[in-house]
C-alpha cells in the first residue's frame, strides 16, 4: 500500500499547473483532494511519474452566484458544497448529494473538481451535474473554454479534458424552485452507489433555465450517464412509473460483487421512479 516513486511539484497558480502539465505530458497527474487518485497510486494501479499539487490554490475554492447560474470553484471541498447556504437555497440537489459522498473525512479533503475530472461512473457528483445540465470551465495553454456536462464524460474514467488542461470551475443553473431528488443505493453507508439517481423536474417552460426533466444515473454505464429515455418519456407525458420503466434503456450496466447487470437495471427503474415521485411533477 505504498505508491511507486514519483516526483512532486506544487503549483502556485492554475497557470503554473498548466505549464507543468505541458512540460510533463501524459506522465503527470493533478493532485487535488487526492481521495480518488492516491488510493489508485497506493494499489499501484496508477503510476504517474509526476504529481502536480494544486490543492492549495485557494482562489479555486469558492461558491458564488453568477446570473442564472451558480459558479463553484473546482477545488471546493465536498464539505463546503454540503454546507453552502447559497447552494441550499438555489441548487439544493447539489449539497444533498455532496453530503452523501464517502464519509466526513473524505468530504473534508475531496473536491468537486477532482470528483468530476476523475470521471468515475460510480461517483455521485457527475450524475448530479449531468441532471442539472451544468457545465465545466477548463483552462489550458490556449485559454479558457466551457464544456457542457453532457460532453464532458468521454469514457470509463476519461473526460474531455486535454492532458494540458485544468478544470477550474463548475457551473450549474439555479433550480428556481424545481423539484429534485437524489437516490443513492448502497449496502454500506459510506460506499459508492450500487446505483444512484439524480433527478430534476422543472415546470414546463418556466423560469430562465427552461423546463423539462433532467435525470442522470450513477454506476449504470461506463460513464456517468443521462437517462435520456426517461427524460423523453416524461416530455411525452408519461407518469413517473411509466417513465421509470425506461431507466435502463440502451444501457449496459456493470457487473460486480454487489449487483448483476439485471439487478442494476431493476434498481435503476425503482430508484428513478422514487426519484421522480419525490421530485414531483
Amino acid at each position: 500500500m505504498i505508491p511507486a516513486s514519483f516526483d512532486y511539484r506544487r503549483a502556485a497558480s492554475a497557470d503554473e499547473a498548466i505549464a507543468l502539465l505541458t512540460e510533463n505530458g501524459d506522465d503527470a497527474k493533478l493532485l487535488a483532494g487526492g481521495h480518488s487518485l492516491l488510493p489508485l497510486m497506493k494499489l499501484r494501479l496508477a503510476r504517474p511519474s509526476v504529481l502536480i499539487d494544486i490543492s492549495r490554490l485557494a482562489d479555486l475554492s469558492y461558491i458564488r452566484a453568477d446570473g442564472d447560474q451558480i459558479a463553484i470553484g473546482a477545488l471546493t471541498r465536498h464539505h463546503d458544497v454540503e454546507v453552502s447556504e447559497l447552494l441550499a437555497r438555489e441548487v439544493p440537489l447539489l449539497p444533498a448529494a455532496a453530503g452523501q459522498v464517502g464519509d466526513p473525512q473524505i468530504r473534508h479533503r475531496g473536491t468537486i473538481g477532482g470528483s468530476l475530472a476523475h470521471g468515475d461512473p460510480a461517483s455521485d457528483l457527475p450524475a448530479v451535474v449531468l441532471a442539472l445540465g451544468g457545465s465545466m470551465v477548463v483552462r489550458g495553454p490556449g485559454g479558457e473554454r466551457s464544456i457542457p456536462a453532457t460532453e464532458f464524460f468521454a469514457g470509463f474514467m476519461e473526460t474531455a479534458l486535454a492532458a494540458d488542461e485544468v478544470l477550474t470551475e463548475i457551473r450549474v443553473p439555479r433550480l428556481e424552485g424545481a423539484g429534485w431528488s437524489f437516490q443513492k443505493f448502497n449496502r454500506r453507508a459510506h460506499d459508492w452507489a450500487i446505483v444512484g439517481v439524480a433527478a430534476v423536474r422543472r415546470g414546463a417552460g418556466s423560469g430562465a433555465n427552461g423546463g423539462g426533466a433532467g435525470v442522470a444515473l450513477v454506476n449504470m454505464a461506463s460513464t456517468p450517464v443521462r437517462a435520456t429515455a426517461v427524460e423523453e418519456a416524461l416530455a411525452g407525458g408519461a407518469s413517473a412509473t411509466e417513465a421509470a420503466a425506461h431507466a435502463a434503456d440502451g444501457l449496459d450496466p456493470p457487473s460486480d460483487i454487489n449487483a448483476t447487470p439485471e439487478f442494476r437495471r431493476h434498481l435503476a427503474q425503482v430508484l428513478v421512479r422514487r426519484a421522480l415521485e419525490e421530485a414531483g411533477a
Binding site: I2, F185, R187, R188, N258, F263, E277, G280
Partner: protein
C-alpha cells in the same frame, strides 16, 4: 473502601489509546532494523519451478533476498498445529515460506530484506518466480470429491472426520418416531477478521549471547514463544516474546505466523533486527480467515415441537494448511448444536477439508457462532412447521432452571442457567407483540416494506479450558492460567497476569478485582502482561477465557496474599490469626473494632522484615495457577427487528435488543462494550461480510472497499440488558462475555430477514443477505407462484408504499 467491582469504571487503558501514546509494533523505534517484504503467490495453486532474486538483490538498499528453498535449512520443524483432533488427521507439512508448491493466493514464495520498507517492497516487485500453474479447488463439496488434490502426496483433501455420537441408536429412534423433522443446509461464508491493527513483527537479536526478542502483534506471546523456539530451533530460554499494544485480534492473532518465524530466522541469519509490517491487502490474504462451513442440520421433534434429537453434519474449510488450531475450531461448537434446549439425543460429525485458499482458524466465537446459527435457524424452521411463534418453540424446549447443573446429551455439564427470564426481558424490550401486530398490519395493507422479527437464544461454552478436557480433545497444551500479586513497599500493588489483553480492558478489570480484595484504589494497581520475561507463565487470551480463568487465578493469588498478611498482622497485633477479621483491606481483632491494621501497613512490615513471625519469609507476594474444573456457560436472548424493501432487497435493521447473562459482572461498561462490538461483528456476517473467491482461487474481496466491514452508520443503537446467574465453577461466579454478541447476532438478524420474507414462501437466504440475494429470492418466488407476488406488488416496480414526499416541493432526501 467502597466496592468498585460492579461499577462502570472508565477503562484505565483508554487515555493512552485515545491520545495515540500507545505503542503498537509498527510504532516501535528499533535502530538499525532491516525491513522484510514478502513476495506472495499470485496463483491459488502452483508449482514453484524457479525463483530468481538477482534483480531484487541489485537494487539499492537491498541486503538479502531468498527463496523458500534457500531458507528451508532455517527450519527445525514445520509450522505447528497444536490440535491434531484425531489420531489419523492428515496435516500436510508446510514451512513459513513455500518450498515446492504454493497452495493459496498469498502463500509466501520469496523474501526481500532491505534498509527501508519502501526499498524492500519495490525490490520485491522485481523477484521473478516461475510458476507451473495447477488447478485450484475453491468449493468445499468439490474439494471433498478429490477432483483436484490440494496436496498431491496426501491422496485426498479430507484432513479428518471427528464424531460426537454418544448414542447413535437413540438418535435413529428419535428421528424414526418424530412427528416433525427439520432438514436444513446452511452455509457459513468465510470471514476476514479485519482487526483494526494489521499484523506487525520485529525480531531483535542481542549483539552477543544469542538472546532474541520478538515483538509481535499477537494474542499469544506465551504459546508463540514455545512453538517459535521449536520451529526456528532456538532455545526457549533465549527467546523473549513481547506483545506491545495490540489493536484487536478476534482470534486472528491467535496463531503462529510465517512472518514471525521469518523475522526470527532472518534476524539470526543477518545478525540485525528485522521487521515486517502487514498492509491491509496482505492482511486479507496472509492472515487467517474465519468460519467457512457447510452445515447439514436436522431436528426431530414431537407433535408439540419438543425437540427429541439433533443431528449435525459439517464440512469445514481448513484452507490450504492447518494453522495453530484450525482443525479444532469446529469442535469448539461441536457440543452446542443443542444449545439452550433440553434435547435427549445428539449426533455431531465434522469433516475437515483442504481447499486452495487462505487457511482458516479461530475467529470471534470460533465454532460457537456456527453452532448457534444452525440451531437457531433450525428452531425457527421447526416453529414454522409446528405452527407456533418462534418464542413459544423456544420456551417449550428450554432447559429448566431446576435442571442445573445440566448434563447435556452432547456430554457437557452446563454450570448454571435460567433462560426464560432473558427471553421474556428481551421480548419486553423489543415490544415483541407490537412488532408482530405492526407486521400483520403491513402485510394486510400490501406494503412493500416488510417487517421481520428474529430471535436467537444462545448458550456458549467459554473459559477455555479444563486441561483434562483439552487432553481428551487431543489439544496438546493445558488450559490453566496464572497470576502473581505483589505488594510494593509503598502499598501499591503489582499484578502479573498470563492473559494477553488486546482491547479487552484487563488492566481495568484486574485492577478492580484487586482493589476490592486488597482495599487499595484501582489506580494503585499496576497490571503487567504480554511479555514473557515479565509474565513467564500464561496461556494467553481467546475464547472468553481471561476473566473466568485468568481473573480467577488473580483472585486466588490475592487470597494467598491476604492469608500471609494475616499472619503478619496477627503477630503485630499480638493475637492469633483466627482472631482476626478481614474486610476491605483492613484486619480487625474480633470484638475489638479499634484494634486494626491496614494491609498496606502489613505490606511495609513485610518489606522491612523487621518484625515478622519466626520462619515467615519477607515480602507480600503470591502466585496462583488456576485450572478450571469446567467451562462456563454464558447465555442470553437477542432479538432483531428488520425492514426488508421488496423492491430493492435492502435490509434495514430497525431495532436490536440483547439480554445477556455472563454471571457476576466486574465492569458493566466493559461488558456493554464487548456486547456492542460483538453484535455488530455478528450482524456483519448476516448482512455485509463475505470473503469471496473466484473459481481460480483469487480473493475478490481483498480490500476494505470490497470486504464490507460495517461502521456505526450501518447499525442502529442497541438496547442491552443483563440477567445475572453466577457460575458455581469459580469463586467470583464470572463467566465471560467477549464472544456472546457475535454468537447471538447472526441468527437473530437472519431469522428476522426470513421472517420478513415469509409471505413470499422464502425459507433460506445465504449470508450475507445482500440486496442482490434477497431480490433474486423474491423474484424467483414470485416468478414461480405466477403473476402476482405475495403482497400484490411484484418485482416489476409497481408504485408502492414509497409515496411522494411533499410533491413538487424541495423535499430533499436528507
Amino acid at each position: 473502601m467502597t466496592a468498585v467491582v460492579g461499577t462502570r469504571m472508565l477503562r484505565k487503558e483508554d487515555p493512552e489509546l485515545l491520545t495515540g501514546e500507545a505503542r503498537y509494533v509498527d510504532d516501535l523505534v528499533i535502530p538499525g532494523a532491516l525491513h522484510l517484504a514478502i513476495v506472495r503467490s499470485t496463483y491459488a495453486h502452483a508449482t514453484i519451478k524457479s525463483v530468481d532474486v538477482s534483480a531484487a538483490l541489485a537494487q539499492p538498499g537491498v541486503v538479502a533476498a531468498f527463496s523458500g528453498a534457500d531458507l528451508r535449512p532455517e527450519w527445525a520443524g514445520p509450522m505447528p498445529c497444536a490440535w491434531p483432533v484425531t489420531e489419523d488427521m492428515l496435516n500436510p507439512e508446510h514451512f513459513p515460506i513455500a518450498v515446492h508448491t504454493a497452495c493459496y493466493v498469498g502463500d509466501a514464495v520469496a523474501v526481500v530484506v532491505a534498509e527501508t520498507d519502501v526499498a524492500a517492497r519495490d525490490a520485491a516487485e522485481l523477484v521473478e518466480v516461475d510458476f507451473d500453474v495447477l488447478p485450484a479447488v475453491v468449493d468445499l463439496e468439490d474439494a471433498l470429491s478429490d477432483r483436484v488434490l490440494v496436496h498431491e502426496a496426501l491422496g485426498t483433501n479430507r484432513s479428518y472426520t471427528w464424531e460426537l455420537i454418544p448414542d447413535a441408536d437413540a438418535v435413529e429412534e428419535a428421528f424414526a418416531n418424530a412427528s416433525h423433522t427439520v432438514v436444513e443446509r446452511y452455509v457459513q461464508q468465510r470471514l476476514i477478521p479485519s482487526a483494526m491493527e494489521t499484523r506487525g513483527v520485529v525480531a531483535v537479536p542481542a549483539v552477543y549471547g544469542g538472546e532474541i526478542t520478538l515483538y509481535t502483534s499477537t494474542q499469544i506471546p506465551h504459546i508463540l514463544r514455545v512453538l517459535a523456539a521449536l520451529t526456528v530451533g532456538v532455545s526457549e530460554s533465549k527467546l523473549r516474546v513481547v506483545a506491545p499494544s495490540v489493536g484487536g485480534g478476534f482470534g486472528s492473532k491467535l496463531d503462529v505466523y510465517a512472518e514471525e518465524l521469518l523475522c526470527l530466522a532472518l534476524a539470526r541469519r543477518l545478525r540485525r533486527p528485522v521487521r515486517w509490517s502487514e498492509d491491509r491487502m496482505e492482511n486479507t490474504q496472509a492472515t487467517i480467515q474465519g468460519r467457512g462451513m457447510i452445515q447439514h442440520m436436522e431436528l426431530a421433534a414431537d407433535a408439540d415441537g419438543r425437540v427429541t434429537a439433533v443431528r449435525a453434519r459439517l464440512l469445514a474449510d481448513m484452507g490450504a494448511y492447518l494453522q495453530l488450531v484450525t482443525p479444532g475450531i469446529p469442535l469448539l461448537g461441536a457440543f452446542l448444536y443443542g444449545g439452550v434446549y433440553d434435547i435427549p439425543a445428539y449426533s455431531f460429525v465434522c469433516t475437515g477439508v483442504f481447499t486452495t485458499k487462505t487457511p482458516t482458524d479461530a475467529y470471534r466465537g470460533a465454532g460457537r457462532p456456527e453452532a448457534t446459527y444452525a440451531l437457531e435457524r433450525a428452531m425457527d424452521a421447526l416453529a414454522r412447521q409446528v405452527g407456533v411463534d418462534p418464542a413459544e418453540i423456544r420456551r417449550r424446549n428450554f432447559i429448566h432452571p431446576d435442571q442445573f447443573p445440566y448434563s447435556s446429551s452432547g456430554g457437557l455439564i452446563f454450570d448454571s442457567g435460567n433462560y426464560e427470564p432473558a427471553l421474556a426481558r428481551a421480548m419486553e424490550m423489543a415490544g415483541y407483540d407490537q412488532v408482530r401486530s405492526d407486521q400483520a398490519a403491513r402485510r394486510s395493507a400490501g406494503a412493500t416494506k416488510h417487517l421481520g422479527i428474529g430471535l436467537s437464544s444462545y448458550v456458549e461454552m467459554c473459559g477455555l479450558a479444563p486441561s483434562r478436557v483439552l487432553s481428551a480433545l487431543r489439544y496438546v497444551a493445558g488450559g490453566w492460567e496464572s497470576s502473581t500479586v505483589r505488594f510494593l513497599p509503598t502499598g501499591k500493588v503489582q499484578v502479573v497476569t498470563g492473559t494477553t489483553p488486546h482491547g479487552q480492558g484487563h488492566e481495568t478489570s484486574w485492577s478492580m478485582i484487586v482493589a476490592d480484595q486488597l482495599g487499595v484504589s484501582p489506580d494503585d494497581v499496576e497490571v503487567l502482561h504480554s511479555d514473557t520475561s515479565i509474565a513467564p507463565h500464561g496461556m494467553d487470551t481467546y475464547g472468553s477465557r481471561s476473566l473466568s480463568v485468568g481473573g480467577t487465578a488473580l483472585w486466588l493469588a490475592t487470597e494467598k496474599v491476604i492469608d500471609k498478611a494475616k499472619l503478619i498482622a496477627a503477630h503485630q497485633l499480638e493475637v492469633a490469626a483466627e482472631d482476626l477479621d478481614y474486610a476491605g483491606g483492613t484486619f480487625t481483632v474480633k470484638g475489638s473494632p479499634d484494634r486494626t491494621m491496614a494491609i498496606g501497613a502489613v505490606a511495609f512490615e513485610a518489606f522491612t522484615a523487621h518484625n515478622l513471625p519466626d520462619g515467615l519469609e519477607p515480602n507480600l507476594e503470591a502466585s496462583s495457577h488456576w485450572d478450571p474444573p469446567n467451562f462456563t456457560f454464558p447465555f442470553g436472548t437477542h432479538i432483531c427487528v428488520v425492514e426488508v424493501d421488496e423492491e430493492t432487497g435492502k435490509v434495514d435493521v430497525l431495532k436490536y435488543v440483547a439480554v445477556d447473562d455472563c454471571g457476576t459482572q466486574i465492569n458493566p461498561l466493559i461488558i456493554e462494550g464487548q456486547v456492542h462490538g460483538g453484535i455488530v461483528q455478528g450482524a456483519a456476517q448476516a448482512l455485509f461480510e463475505e470473503a469471496i473467491y473466484d473459481e481460480d482461487g483469487n480473493l475478490v474481496t481483498s480490500s476494505l472497499a470490497d470486504y464490507l466491514v460495517p461502521s456505526a452508520a450501518d447499525f442502529p443503537s442497541m438496547q442491552t440488558d443483563t440477567t445475572v446467574t453466577p457460575s458455581p465453577t469459580n469463586p467470583m461466579g464470572v463467566k465471560g462475555v467477549g464472544e456472546a454478541g457475535t454468537i447471538a447476532a447472526a441468527p437473530a438478524v437472519m431469522n428476522a430477514i426470513i421472517d420478513a420474507l415469509s409471505p413470499f414462501g422464502i425459507t433460506d437466504i445465504d449470508m450475507p443477505a445482500t440486496p442482490q440475494r434477497i431480490w433474486t429470492a423474491i423474484k424467483q418466488s414470485t416468478d414461480a407462484s405466477g403473476a402476482s407476488g405475495a403482497s400484490g406488488a411484484g418485482a416489476s416496480g409497481a408504485s408502492g408504499a414509497n409515496g411522494a414526499s411533499g410533491a413538487g416541493a424541495n423535499g430533499g432526501p436528507r
